[in-house]
Amino acid sequence: DVKVTQSSRYLVKRTGEKVFLECVQDMDHENMFWYRQDPGLGLRLIYFSYDVKMKEKGDIPEGYSVSREKKERFSLILESASTNQTSMYLCASTQGGIKGSPLHFGNGTRLTVT
């Protein structure tokens, strides 16, 4: 089975801190994604990557950046955390395109910014 591992389950940071959320997948998948999940808003795509060093903006990229230096690792960076970035962050990966290749998700990182 594909395993997508997010390094932290819970994280508490202060406003203005730089925050790194790490995600690793073990199935040599080409594509990786970062979503945030908020009650009543569903899953919203922040950034995604189709190859090493490649990145594309999702629907809500503001306030975030990403890094993909190795195929198995996709990092989400909050340059200066703000309280409105308190959320559940989900990483996912898939081998092919999104048509016919289901996303495999990690168990999420719940980030609280105080």
Partner: protein, 111 residues
């Protein structure tokens, strides 16, 4: 604009009954639809998918129905069990390489 919506935010069923979870969508350009299940404390997990050239697809205890005429997608769970309690999301492909997600339906199974 593109959207995927839900008819009901919560659904409560008795153990052993069949469950039906619905999604409506507004844009007919999608050609791939997916259902995910999210249990408490976990990430979403793929259940079943269907392409737009099909009306029905069956898995183990689950069936997905696609009605393109009325732009409606449903997930049927047979003989619902306590382990089926979760939030269920529908998603579809948009005009680019992104998925468009519904807001989720919470399924509660009563013993």
């Amino acid at each position: 604009g593109e959207s995927v919506g839900l008819h009901l935010p919560t659904l409560s069923v008795q153990e052993g009954d069949n469950s039906i979870i619905n999604c409506a969508y507004s844009n007919s350009a999608s050609d791939y639809f997916i259902w995910y299940k999210q249990e408490s404390g976990k990430g979403p997990q793929f259940i079943i998918d269907i392409r737009s050239n099909m009306d029905k697809r069956q898995g183990q205890r689950v069936t997905v129905l696609l009605n393109k005429t009325v732009k409606h997608l449903s997930l049927q769970i047979a003989a619902t069990q306590p382990g089926d309690s979760a939030v269920y999301f529908c998603a579809r492909t948009g005009n680019n390489r992104k998925l468009i997600w519904g807001l989720g339906t919470s399924l509660a199974v009563n013993p």
